[in-house]
């Protein structure tokens, strides 16, 4: 929803997902690069990379698609 002249909730969600996604994705890349895996089960799946990356892409989509000033 975009209330007239104001930012949509989807924009806020986009911002938050982008920030979280970037943080988690970067941590995942750090793990990949250094080989220092967190002490969790199935750490070799590198969930931080694909989950964080997914959040980042979704966040960017929402942030851009529903940015202020654009109808949506």
């Amino acid at each position: 929803m975009t209330t007239t002249g104001h930012s949509s909730i989807w924009f806020f969600i986009g911002i938050l997902l982008t920030v979280y996604g970037a943080m988690i994705f970067c941590y995942g890349l750090y793990e990949l690069a250094t080989g220092h895996l967190a002490n969790v089960v199935l750490a070799n799946l590198h969930a931080s990379v694909w989950w964080g990356g997914g959040m980042l892409i979704l966040g960017l989509f929402y942030g851009i698609r529903f940015r202020p000033g654009r109808n949506g």
């Binding site: 209330t3 806020f12 938050l16 988690i24």
Partner: protein
């Protein structure tokens, strides 16, 4: 031991916060800097949204009803999110570990039919009469008496429940993270007070949608990795069967929902299918999802009737999916959780998980699963999901309290000619008052845990009788003011009486639930059912003996006396009836698949 019933009697997992506290010597999870950053950013975001929306909450319609501008998606997600508290997440995951997939009944038959009924059948009446609240509908239909009884009971119990949840959540945070109780209570309640008082219902709804996304983002990873570890659903069932055969897991049918419902003794919950279908599926579920203003308020904020009808339908799809982030992790915990020495971990009831025992309780299954799979950052996201769940529930409580207090108590009883601006001011103060009373309740419960039992039972007393009165009033023109008032009163007294009877003499459960084999959970269902029956029966009887309202006064309130506005034709993929049919098919398919 007390029961968490944070959603008007919808959820009944047991979390004994005081027993949990006894375990709090070493937290389950240790957060790193990245996790803390995730949590801090979340708090900054919700406060930012509150300030951002402050300028859009200037009139009462904007403050209490979000300007009635919400799309179906936003109203629908908010509708589900207001109910998706973190205690439900943890409690039902624990119930799934304990009872198996039976716990999913609370998400499927205990929600979906009622949500669809609200959207397709009841919403037009709520929406067309332009009521601001459910007590407001009662006032239009039955007059001031029933409305005031309903408004006062709702307002009072809403803030008390909010406090009970606040306390329980603070204790959960202490156990999971080692956080100080006062810190959790004060920080979370200040954040909720700030963004609801600033931005009103719009801010609450925006944050609920945000929290909904976070809950999914934070919790969905657990079942995904869990299913990878077990080799999918069939792999999980094979491992579970192996554990049961070897005696490592207690005997029981953990993966079927209806097969063991033929008799009270056939399932660990001690429930019969009639209790599930009529008690949970009708009396409790319909009472909560169609008459509890906490959730109905979200749908009333929709921008037109079609959106108001679509919102619960959209919500129903997400509600159907919630078991995948709640029930499934609980089930997976049965086969994947291990002790440090590699043996299968056995979670236990909370009274056994005492300090020094080294044991974990059922209710810790979700945090344990998070700790098992989630690396830094992701763990912070999971914990944020729990905090977000708590805050969305609390925001729902205080925003609903604020509206009911202002419109249904303050305006009719204290200041009839209040200006619109004055009502907004009262609403902001009511929000803060609601939070303050909640905090007071939290500390009261901290000093006397027994109060919690009573507060939670009290809330459940009002919901089912209210359903009986609203349904009769909405679908029977002959229902009268006296019928509504006495139906509500005697229905409530029935509920209170049955509760007190079983409390005083636990053997009375055999009469309430119609079986000597019934267990505690059955009591809630049958008590709700009896109170609906009494409320409806009294309403019918008294109405027939008293003077009905003139037909002209029923316009917009009653089936048969209301012209539902014609809606523009839309493509089938935007049609609410189409999506209702899809939801019904999916609901049936899930029940058949897990029969």
């Amino acid at each position: 031991m007390y029961e968490i019933v944070p959603t008007g009697g919808m959820s009944i997992p047991q979390i004994d916060a005081h027993s949990l506290l006894a375990l709090a010597t070493s937290p389950l999870a240790r957060l790193g800097a990245l996790d803390i950053a995730v949590i801090v950013i979340y708090f900054a975001m919700v406060i930012w949204i509150g300030f951002y929306l402050k300028g859009q909450a200037n009139t009462s319609e904007e403050f209490f009803m979000a300007g009635r501008e919400m799309t179906a998606w936003i109203a629908g997600l908010s509708f589900v999110s207001a109910n998706l508290g973190s205690l439900e997440l943890m409690g039902w995951a624990g119930s799934a570990y304990q009872y198996g997939i039976l716990a999913a009944h609370w998400y499927w038959i205990g929600a979906i039919p009622a949500m669809l009924f609200l959207g397709m059948v009841m919403m037009p009446f709520y929406y067309v009469c332009k009521t601001h609240s459910v007590p407001g509908y009662l006032k239009l239909r039955y007059g001031q008496g029933a409305s005031v009884v309903s408004a006062i009971s709702f307002a009072f119990m809403t803030v008390l429940m909010s406090g009970v949840n606040m306390f329980a959540m603070a204790e959960v945070m202490k156990v999971v993270l080692g956080w100080d109780l006062n810190f959790s209570i004060i920080v979370s309640s200040l954040a909720v007070a700030a963004y609801v008082a600033l931005g009103g219902l719009r801010s609450a709804i925006f944050n609920e949608v945000l929290q909904f996304m976070l809950i999914w983002g934070g919790a969905l990873l657990v079942p995904i990795i869990g299913m990878v570890e077990t080799g999918g659903w069939s792999g999980f069932k094979a491992r579970l069967a192996q554990n049961i055969a070897s005696g490592a897991t207690a005997q029981g049918d953990y993966t079927h929902m209806w097969r063991s419902m033929g008799h009270f003794t056939d399932n660990p919950m001690g429930i019969h299918w009639t209790g599930i279908v009529f008690g949970l599926g009708f009396a409790i579920s319909f009472g909560y999802w169609t008459t509890d203003f906490l959730v109905v308020q979200r749908v009333l904020a929709a921008h037109n009737l079609r959106a108001a009808r679509m919102a619960p339908v959209i919500g129903s799809f997400f509600k159907m999916a919630v078991p995948f982030i709640v029930i499934l992790p609980g089930l997976l915990g049965l086969v994947v959780l291990q002790n440090p020495n590699g043996t299968l971990m056995h979670l236990v009831p909370q009274n056994l998980a005492t300090e020094g025992s080294g044991l974990h309780s059922y209710n810790e299954v979700l945090p344990l699963m998070m700790v098992r799979y989630m690396a830094p950052g992701l763990l912070g996201l999971g914990i944020t999901a729990l905090i977000a769940g708590f805050m969305s529930g609390m925001a729902g409580n205080v925003s609903a309290f604020s509206a009911v207090w202002t419109y249904d108590i303050y305006q009719p009883l204290i200041k009839k000619n209040a200006s619109d601006e004055h009502l907004v001011t009262i609403g902001r103060w009511a929000t803060i008052l609601g939070v303050v009373v909640s905090i007071g309740t939290a500390y009261m419960v901290m000093s006397a845990a027994g109060i919690m039992d009573y507060v939670q039972a009290l809330f459940s007393f009002f919901i089912s009788p209210l359903l009986g009165v609203v349904l009769v009033g909405m679908f029977w023109r002959r229902a009268t003011k006296a019928g509504g008032f006495w139906g509500l009163l005697l229905g409530t007294l029935t509920s209170v009486g049955l509760w007190a009877w079983v409390k005083a003499d636990p053997h009375a459960l055999r009469y309430v639930a119609l079986s000597p084999d019934a267990k505690d959970m059955a009591e809630n269902m049958y008590r709700a059912l009896w109170s609906v029956i009494v409320a409806m029966g009294v309403n019918f009887g008294v109405s027939l003996a008293t003077e009905p309202k003139p037909a002209a006064e029923l316009e917009g309130l009653v089936y048969g006396a209301t012209k539902i506005p014609e809606e523009e034709p839309v493509p089938i993929y935007k049609n609410e009836w189409f999506w209702t049919a899809v939801a019904i098919v999916m609901f049936c398919a899930l029940n058949v698949y897990f029969w």
